[in-house]
Every structure is written in structure tokens, then in C-alpha cells.
């Protein structure tokens, strides 16, 4: 069995999202070093804020400013930061309930080691030097000692946000109109995911043969049809195909279209013909470009052969062989 082919595959995209009014105020606020929450129907302050009440699903729009300081409600030490995570050095993932808020925000805490982190510890926001209106405008959290005289232990207790904030010596959430100059209306999060793609066993066999300028298909043991390119299974019968068979190289144009719009980056001049080609011995048509003939002379039934260029793994295109056209009845099942 030929070696299974693999290739690196990168999926990369700018994930672009528009913002609702609450999210826009929150992210614009972060740009201006102001943290806003939203007040729910039952009076809790949610940070980060949401557009709809988690209990009633009603629209919620009452914004309130909370402090840049808060309390860790749970944490996890990450000894090996990954590329896209906010800090390069080992850090703690934290949920932080900011003073004045009733819910906790997920972010990272810059600390020297797990010994320096505990639930209930006091932290404050370290702002990113350049801010755009994104959750990463909070660069990270850092440990923070309350002013002398404040009761640090009170901060760890659960309870209503305002009570706890008062105990810790901080003001409760203050109403805020959420109005800023040049509000952000959307975010773009770059995403990149790396894969190792494998086309599978049957396709690897097919591609290995193509590299030797041979086109192969696989025969279904049940319906006897030859599938090109093979996928290791007959899609009609749902059974594995294992018997390899060489097809072509000559074939018949079963149907075609004229392409008049140039694809981005394609080195082929328009108009050109793209065709379904039934290779001799195959029971499934494959598709390829037709060259070596003016586009308006291509016709159904025309006999063609592959043209290989350089060390390419695929035929570059198919050209006319000059054989008489095939009769319609010979390929009508393969349209």
C-alpha cells in the first residue's frame, strides 16, 4: 500500500462580529479604561454585561460602572501558555468579581507562581498599553493590596455586590450612560487553526498513481461500478471498494460549461471550457479544463486525453484526441 499522504492545512480567518448596544458600551468603555456592567431585572450587576436578561430574556439596558479592582472567585494555574493566550509567561486563569459586580469575568492573572494565587485574593486590572475596544484591552489582572484599614478577608465572602464592595471599601456600581466618543461597533478576532490533512487511504492510492501519470479508480464489488476518483467506498452500495483499476487515459466530454469570469489568482485566460469527462472504463465523470481547442468548438461527445505538465500531480488540462465523437448512448448514463 502506498504511503498515506499528509499535508499541512491552515484555516485562518478574521472573525468579524457586530456588537449590540450593551456590548458596544462595555468594549468602548474598556478602551477608555472604564468597566461597565449591566443591571438585570432583579437588580444584579453583570460584568461582563449581556444584551438580554439571563432569567427573563428581556432586553436590559441600564449600565453601571464598576471598579477596576476585584476578587478572585476561582483560578487555575497554566504552566505552559499557548501562543494566542494573553501572557507569554506562566499565568493563572481567573474568574474575577469586580467590586460593584455580582458576576465574575474570565481573564488572566500575572503572578509569580501558583503559591501567589488563591481564591478570595484581591486583584486589579492592568490595562493594555494600546486599546481598541476588545476584551484584550484588559491586558491582564495583577495582585493588589487594598489600602491599609480595609478588611481584605471580607472581599472573599459571597453576597450582594454592593455589600461586599462596601465591606472592601469600594463604591457600589454607579449608573453610567454608556456614551463615549467614537463608540466601537464591531470586533475582529483573528483566528488561526493548524491541521494536518490526510485525504485517506483510497485517495492516497489514487494520488500516488497520478504522480506516475496513471489515473486509477476503484471497482465496487457489489454494483461493479468504477469510481474515479475513489473514496474507498461505493456511495450507492455503502460497501468498501478495494479493487483498483486503471482508467483512461482517453475519455469523453459528457457535458461542459464556458467560464467567462476570471477566478482570483487564476493564471488562465477567459473564456475557457470546464467539462465533465468520462474516462474510458470509469462509471463516474470527473471534471477538468479543456485546452488545445477554441472554447466555442468544444462539444458533448468530444474525445479528449490528459496533458501533464512539469512534475504536477494532476493533469493540467485535457486536449482533443482527434478521434470521432462518441455516440450519445455511450455516455448518457454519465452526464
Amino acid at each position: 500500500m502506498p504511503e498515506i499522504l499528509t499535508a499541512p492545512l491552515t484555516v485562518s480567518f478574521p472573525f468579524t462580529r457586530s456588537l449590540g448596544p450593551v456590548q458596544s458600551a462595555f468594549l468602548t468603555g474598556l478602551r477608555e479604561r472604564t468597566v461597565l456592567g449591566v443591571r438585570t431585572t432583579d437588580g444584579r450587576v453583570l460584568v461582563p454585561p449581556v444584551e438580554y436578561d439571563p432569567v427573563t430574556a428581556g432586553e436590559i439596558r441600564d449600565l453601571a460602572e464598576v471598579a477596576p479592582t476585584g476578587t478572585v472567585t476561582t483560578w487555575a494555574w497554566n504552566p505552559a501558555p499557548r501562543d494566542k493566550q494573553p501572557l507569554r509567561t506562566p499565568f493563572a486563569w481567573v474568574l474575577v468579581r469586580l467590586d460593584g459586580a455580582d458576576t465574575a469575568l474570565l481573564h488572566v492573572l500575572d503572578a509569580p507562581g501558583p503559591h501567589a494565587v488563591r481564591t478570595g485574593m484581591r486583584v486589579r486590572i492592568r490595562w493594555a498599553p494600546e486599546r481598541t475596544g476588545a476584551i484584550t484591552d484588559i491586558g491582564c489582572f495583577e495582585p493588589y493590596e487594598d489600602e491599609p484599614g480595609e478588611d481584605e478577608t471580607a472581599a472573599g465572602k459571597a453576597g450582594a455586590g454592593e455589600d461586599r464592595a462596601r465591606e472592601a471599601g469600594h463604591r457600589p456600581a454607579a449608573p453610567h450612560d454608556g456614551v463615549f466618543d467614537a463608540p466601537v461597533t464591531g470586533i475582529v478576532t483573528p483566528a488561526r487553526l493548524d491541521y494536518t490533512y490526510t485525504p485517506g487511504r483510497a485517495m492516497s492510492r489514487h494520488l500516488a498513481a497520478l504522480a506516475e501519470h496513471r489515473i486509477t479508480g476503484e471497482r465496487c464489488p457489489s454494483c461493479r461500478k468504477v469510481h474515479v476518483p475513489p473514496r474507498g467506498v461505493c456511495p450507492t452500495c455503502g460497501v468498501p471498494t478495494t479493487e483498483q483499476t486503471e482508467v483512461g487515459p482517453h475519455g469523453t466530454v459528457t457535458t461542459f460549461c464556458v467560464v467567462n469570469i476570471k477566478a482570483k489568482g487564476a493564471g488562465i485566460d477567459v473564456p475557457y471550457v470546464y467539462a465533465h469527462i468520462a474516462l474510458d472504463g470509469a462509471d463516474l465523470a470527473l471534471h477538468a479544463r479543456i485546452g488545445g481547442i477554441p472554447y466555442d468548438e468544444v462539444r458533448m461527445g468530444m474525445r479528449v486525453a490528459p496533458v501533464w505538465t512539469g512534475d504536477a500531480r494532476h493533469p493540467d488540462h485535457f486536449r482533443p484526441t482527434g478521434e470521432p465523437d462518441a455516440a450519445y448512448d455511450t455516455y448518457k448514463e454519465l452526464l
Binding site: P48, T73, T103, L105, Y197, T236, G238
Partner: protein, 331 residues
């Protein structure tokens, strides 16, 4: 409303737990599993009234990757087919509803996943809230560790020994299964068709699934109210179960599930090894349903609970109750 029908799991097959797809494409990986499930049920490819699958394009890195797997089910002439972009347990739910409503008598349900094609720690961050969470790239282990710390603080879990090497403190590498490639298939059938296909069908007495908010800060991570509610609605608390198959992709999460589902020492939990033994992502939940059913098929269980989860820290939970006796008959 259509009168209720008795629906059972009559066949179950899954791929070997050896870790990688060994060069197989998804259709190639799936084919032997589908054939085995269909063989057990005595169905030919394409013969089931309804086909439903679960998988995620993000795992494979290819758009519409699930359409390729239709090659393996004998989809010509055209079949009635659907797909869910999550664990196959939710595909089973859709197929169950289809049969309950009288739109089908038999259904083939399958799931496939090739997490080794990419890095699940990166890939699974893309299922999170795109505004506040995804830009920070918190991987599933980080989120599970936040949950574990909350459980330790609440006294539900022991503090791990200080000397051990940790993947994400407080969790160790051994607290997580290694993601493996895999596939699974189940056949569902109604009433007498099920009795014909299987000597001891696993009758579905109820299934329900419930979801919690996606912001981890809005949730009580020490509890799973969605699991409890789904279990209630599925009828899990009406009588004791003898077996439970739990989909806990982290040891600490099993603690949460055992409490939410009120499982005591009389219940055999995860006789298959559970998600920790093998975690073919997007397949693991369907395997729990299949393993619970297979235990009933073999006569090892009379009433079993199966659970599947999706999302971070047990965000979305499905509970099914399976029995050796259908609704209409007395026990």
C-alpha cells in the same frame, strides 16, 4: 398529538480505541462501524427510514466535512438525512423525535471525529462566546481546572497532592482523556420492528437536554442544574437505575454529575470506562448512549441512564433513560 410510540436502541458499534485514524479518511473510518451496526439490526445500507449524524467541521478543518461521510451510508437513491454540528448524542435525540412523531420506524445515527487532525485545545476555544471568551483562547482544560478549583473550594473535591506535575493546576494530565479519532453508530427502531431486530431492545423511556449560559461567571460551576433538570424531564428519578454512563471529559466533572444525578453506591458508573478511557470528540456522548444500551442488550442492566455533554464545564447536558421493558408493559 401523535400517540406515543415505544422506541428502542437495537444496535451499537464503535471504532477501536487505538487513538488515531491510521490514515483513514472520515468515510473510511466510519464504514466498518456503520456496517457492523446495520448488520446487528439486519438493515441494508440506505434502508433505514432516517439517517442523522453528529460531527464538527472545526475538528476536521473542512467545511461540510460531514457530507463526505454520506458516501459510507449508501445515500443513493436519496435518503432522508440530517446532521447536527455537535456530539452524535444530539443526532440520536433528533432521530428519536422523528420516530416518536411517526415520521420514521427506523433510524441510523452516527458520529465521527478526527481531533488528531488539529489541536483540540485551540479548536475547542472557537465554540466559546466570540466577544468576551474566544479572544483569550481559554482551552477546555483551563476551563475544567477553574471548575475543579471551585469544587475544591466548596469542599466537593480533595486538594491534589502538591508534589504532582499538573497540566493545569489543580488538575493533572491524568485527569483528562487524550482526544482520539473515532466513530460510532446506533440503530433506533419502533415497537415490533425493534423486537424483530433485537432480542432485548433498550427501550428509550425518556430523553431531555438542557443548556446553561455561556458565560462561566454566570454559572455555579460546582453544580449542574441543567443535568438535573434534563434527568428529571427524562424520568431518571422516577425509579432507581442500575447503570450510568457519564460523559465527563475530566475527572472533576464526574463529581458534579454524580451529585446532580443522585448516583449512589448501588449504581454501576461507567462500566465501559467512560469518557476517560477514550474521548473521540463529538462521538463520546453517543458512545455513552450506545454503551448503556448494549448493557441492556446483553442482559447486564434493566434500567440505565446515559449522559452526554457539550460546551465548556458541562454547559449543555443530555440525559436518556433506557430500560429492558417498554412503556406499555409492566415491569
Amino acid at each position: 398529538m401523535t400517540p406515543p410510540r415505544d422506541v428502542a436502541v437495537v444496535a451499537f458499534a464503535h471504532s477501536e480505541r487505538d487513538g488515531s485514524a491510521d490514515g483513514a479518511s472520515e468515510p473510511e473510518m466510519l464504514l466498518p462501524v456503520l456496517r457492523e451496526a446495520l448488520r446487528q439490526a439486519g438493515l441494508a445500507p440506505g434502508e433505514a427510514d432516517f439517517t442523522c449524524s453528529g460531527s464538527s467541521d472545526y475538528l476536521a478543518g473542512r467545511p461540510f466535512s460531514f457530507t463526505l461521510t454520506l458516501d459510507s451510508v449508501g445515500a443513493w437513491p436519496p435518503i432522508a438525512e440530517s446532521h447536527v454540528e455537535t456530539d452524535g448524542a444530539w443526532a440520536l435525540y433528533e432521530a428519536w423525535v422523528k420516530i416518536l412523531t411517526g415520521r420514521a420506524d427506523t433510524a441510523l445515527v452516527y458520529a465521527h471525529g478526527k481531533p488528531t487532525a488539529g489541536d483540540p485545545a485551540d479548536v475547542l476555544t472557537r465554540q466559546l462566546d466570540p466577544y468576551y471568551l474566544a479572544p483569550l483562547w481559554p482551552d477546555p482544560r483551563a476551563l475544567a481546572a477553574l471548575q475543579a478549583r471551585a469544587l475544591i473550594d466548596a469542599g466537593h473535591l480533595e486538594e491534589p497532592p502538591a508534589a504532582e506535575a499538573h497540566a493545569v493546576l489543580p488538575l493533572r494530565a491524568g485527569d483528562f482523556p487524550a482526544p482520539v479519532d473515532g466513530a460510532a453508530a446506533v440503530v433506533l427502531a419502533a415497537g415490533d420492528t425493534a423486537r424483530r431486530m433485537c432480542e432485548r431492545p433498550a427501550w428509550i423511556r425518556g430523553i431531555d437536554h438542557r443548556i446553561e449560559p455561556q458565560a462561566p461567571g454566570l454559572r455555579d460551576l460546582t453544580d449542574s442544574p441543567s443535568t438535573r433538570l434534563a434527568a428529571e424531564r427524562a424520568g431518571a428519578f422516577r425509579a432507581p437505575v442500575d447503570t450510568a454512563e457519564l460523559h465527563a471529559p475530566c475527572t472533576a466533572q464526574e463529581t458534579v454529575l454524580r451529585r446532580a444525578l443522585r448516583l449512589d453506591g448501588t449504581v454501576t458508573v461507567n462500566p465501559s470506562g467512560g469518557a476517560l478511557a477514550a474521548d473521540p470528540v463529538m462521538v463520546t456522548g453517543l458512545v455513552r448512549l450506545g454503551e448503556a444500551a448494549a448493557r441492556i442488550h446483553r442482559g447486564d442492566s434493566d434500567r440505565a441512564l446515559a449522559h452526554a455533554t457539550s460546551g465548556p464545564c458541562l454547559q449543555h447536558n443530555l440525559v436518556a433513560v433506557l430500560e429492558a421493558v417498554p412503556e406499555g408493559e409492566t415491569r
